[in-house]
Amino acid sequence: MDNIGLIGAASVLAAGLAIGIGGVGPGIGEGNAAHAALKAMAQQPDEAGNITKTLFICMAMCESTAIYAFVITMIILFANPFWNHVIETVAK
């Protein structure tokens, strides 16, 4: 396979793997956080407002790792320096 094909195929594969594997950890983490929050709300229904607020903050922190993976995928797909370099070399 020539350079263009190789870089294209590797980029697509890397993008898919980045978001696919990168979404597993945060998903499990957010599920655990929701589990703990629901259990706490069931034990103390009066504190539901406080618990909900803290739950959203914890979910945002877990989400940030998934967002890092998403940003890497977007960079690979749309601002790929290797692809741009190969395209420039071929255009010359």
């Binding site: 959203f56 903050i57 945002a60 989400e63 940030s64 967002i67 890092y68 998403f70 940003v71 797909l77």
Partner: protein, 226 residues
């Protein structure tokens, strides 16, 4: 396909192309300044006197931010940090909430805006650390558990600043990109719940940015007895 909002030129002024990010920032600045002027036109203290509704609303918002800063950092007067943290929170919240207007490009969807705010937080972190703990006292934090942790502590500092920027940028940008993709695929009703989710995460990210910047800034301070 991904929108880089820094490349859309709206109009040119004196030879500079004003891109969509700067234009949206100006719009948000105009909105916030108009609201502040309306709220502080006839400031009045007394409950019996006439207190305008905008002033009451603004006081509620300022009190909410004040309580949040106090909850994150109980040892200081919250008014020391209120200008910067309040501005971060209000600007990012208004910027993310205004995405409900169809052709508005949120300025936080550009890495330049988020990175600029994160660098401001980094500078304040250093300056406040030097002011409260002294130059050597601040540098001692890098060899805190054991001097062999020095490179790891430096990297963790840099990474927390970058993560502050990328978290905000990534959340807002992912909301915009998902909205664009869904509009291309199923434009009829499906983008609506995702637009709502985008509004919710935008507000939460504003709150997270403000609270995390307080935590980073006051992390080195020696805890005085109150």
């Amino acid at each position: 396909m991904i929108e880089n909002f820094d490349k859309i030129i709206v109009f040119t002024v004196f030879g500079f192309g004003i891109n969509a990010t700067i234009f949206s920032t100006w719009i948000i600045m105009a909105i916030l300044m108009l609201l502040s002027w309306l709220a502080t036109r006839n400031l009045s203290h007394t409950v019996g006197g006439k207190v305008s509704r905008v002033q009451t609303a603004m006081e509620a918002i300022v009190k909410a931010i004040h309580d949040q800063i106090k909850a994150a950092d109980p040892h200081n007067n919250p008014m020391v940090f209120m200008p910067m943290i309040g501005t971060f929170f209000l600007f990012i919240a208004v910027a993310n909430l205004l995405t409900i207007i169809p052709w508005f490009k949120p300025p936080t969807a550009s890495l330049s805006t988020s990175l600029a705010y994160a660098i401001c937080v980094a500078v304040v972190m250093f300056v406040y650390g030097f002011k409260t703990a002294g130059f050597l006292g601040y540098l001692r934090k890098y060899i805190e558990p054991h001097p062999i942790m020095l490179p790891l502590n430096i990297i963790s500092d840099i990474a927390s600043i970058f993560s502050l920027a990328v978290r905000l940028y990534g959340n807002v940008l992912s909301g915009c990109v998902v909205g664009t993709v869904l509009l291309a695929l199923v434009p009829y009703l499906i983008p609506l719940p995702l637009q709502l989710l985008g509004l919710l995460t935008g507000t939460i990210q504003a709150y997270i940015f403000a609270i995390l910047s307080i935590m980073y800034i006051t992390s080195v301070e020696p805890k005085k007895r109150k």
